[in-house]
Amino acid sequence: MSLQVTNISKAFGGFKALSGVSLEVPMGGLVGLIGPNGAGKSTLFSVISGFMPPDEGAIGFDGRSLDGLNPAGRARTGLVRTFQVPREFAHLTVRENMMAAAPGQTGESLVGLFLRAGKVREEEERLAEEVREVIRFLRLERVADEPAGKLSGGQKKLVELGRALLVKPRLILLDEPFAGVNPVLIGEIMERIRELNGRGIGFLVIEHDLEALTRLAPQLYVMDQGRILTMGAPDAVLADARVREAYLGGAV
């Protein structure tokens, strides 16, 4: 009952981006993944979410193998990712961004759209209500009807989180949720993540901002040069000499 990443390797030409990476996120867990630039964190996310095939290794989620599934198929198992550079649907409003994410809509088929208009309308009303709640939860009311492309970087991160929530995820892979976000909003986003985690949604968070992540995640993995260096509670991990060497360049 968890996300199980086993012995993943991935090379680009001669460059080994990932070598034998294994990690585990228990259901409902909140796990951080830190490491210097180029450590392979985002590559690992791409492999887990199915956007990039690994050369070796296996991914399991909730006791089933994800190896044969494409990105959309993996998301439908409840494993949803966000992107380091936000990929909002720029010309859709914040509200529409989230509505587009909800699964199983009758109105997404042309037949349903034209022949079952009543059912489509009903579903739309129900979905609109659900989206209103998510928007309220993420404090995005003020920009709800703005095109998402016009939002600030931090707000776009929240839109991505909101979209992920509409998929009814069991585990969210968050790629640098605090990068380029102002400090006030960082606190907000962290608060939301904790709250969602409290509701049973698991998180695997990549973060560059070491300080923010140590405050957020009770358990950390540290990556360097495509390998998992160590794992454990933030204090223990930060005290590790290898981590200081790799991540902090021995400066601390």
Partner: protein, 295 residues
């Protein structure tokens, strides 16, 4: 003069159907289809050939939509694996292939000689302006139905998803939705519209040859939607109207501007349209119908 105006209106409506198809494919879904004219040609030849076999137009015109739509299906399957720019090349290649096939398969299409004597719409009802107006009325009704359907689509969950594909396909996949099925549906639907447009064209002009189906037709449609505003149904309508007005209206310009021959004028027209496109792209990329992000 009435007949002339009716003729312009009919051609404009036919182009409007083409523009609506491309708006669905490119404006809403982001599929760069440079081969629109290929589906137009398939529709024209399908309906022309079937009607010459004695089938009623009430059957041959829907058949044109079906064959053009079906032709889009394999193209979609192959091309969905390609990046945007390669998709554009494949579609351009497809429309040229269609033109070459109808040029060389003489047993079916009569090659470069073309197909003369294609039955008109409402042939039995009347002649002269009455028939013209009846044809115009029918094409207008079909265009309005297409506009209505497009508006329904834009405002629907389906419309939301195809616009999400246009804005960021990978993000949509990451949310558990496969873009492939949506793209294929959009290609088929837009091409079916082009097929209907082709059928109307064949039955209006009554004589079709391969040379009427050159890529310039595709690019006229592109010009129309860029000028009108990509991604908006109203943009397709306004853009096509303006382009047609200009292309036709500039015929009269020659009467005022001395020393320009017919051939020179034809080139000049395209030159001006080209200049307009450049200016629009620089100064008003959202087109005449305003903000691309607001519907």
């Amino acid at each position: 003069m009435d007949a002339y105006l009716a003729a312009i209106a009919i051609i404009a409506l036919i182009y409007m159907l083409l523009s609506l198809g491309l708006t669905l494919q490119y404006g809403l879904t982001g599929l760069i289809n440079f081969g629109h004219v290929g589906f137009f040609a398939i529709g024209a030849y399908t309906s022309a050939l079937l009607s010459l076999q004695g089938l009623p137009l009430a059957l041959t015109i829907p058949a044109a939509a079906v064959t053009a739509g079906l032709a889009a299906w394999p193209i979609g399957l192959i091309s969905l694996r390609l990046r945007d720019d390669y998709f554009a090349i494949v579609t351009l290649g497809f429309s040229e292939t269609v033109r070459l096939v109808i040029t060389s398969e003489k047993w079916l299409t009569n090659g470069v000689q073309g197909i003369p004597g294609i039955p008109r719409l409402f042939e039995t009802i009347s002649v002269g302006i009455g028939a013209q107006l009846a044809v115009m009325g029918l094409i207008l009704a079909v265009t309005l139905a297409a506009i209505y359907a497009m508006r329904r689509i834009v405002a629907s969950p389906f419309g939301r998803v195809i616009e999400a594909i246009r804005d960021n396909e990978e993000a949509l996949q990451a949310l558990g939705k496969d873009p492939a099925g949506f793209k294929i549906q959009v290609l088929i639907l837009g091409s079916a519209l082009a097929g209907i447009a082709g059928a109307f064209y064949a039955h209006y002009i009554t004589y079709i040859v391969p040379d009427q189906f050159i890529p310039l037709v595709t690019f006229y449609v592109w010009m129309a939607i860029i000028i009108g505003g990509v991604g908006r149904v109203s943009g397709a309508i306004v853009g096509t109207g303006l382009l047609m007005l200009f292309l036709e209206g500039s015929r009269f310009l020659r009467d005022i501007v001395p020393g320009v021959s017919e051939v020179e004028m034809a080139s000049l027209r395209i030159g001006v349209v080209g200049l307009l496109l450049v200016l629009f792209t620089i100064y008003r990329p959202q087109g005449l119908m305003g903000d691309f992000t607001k519907r």
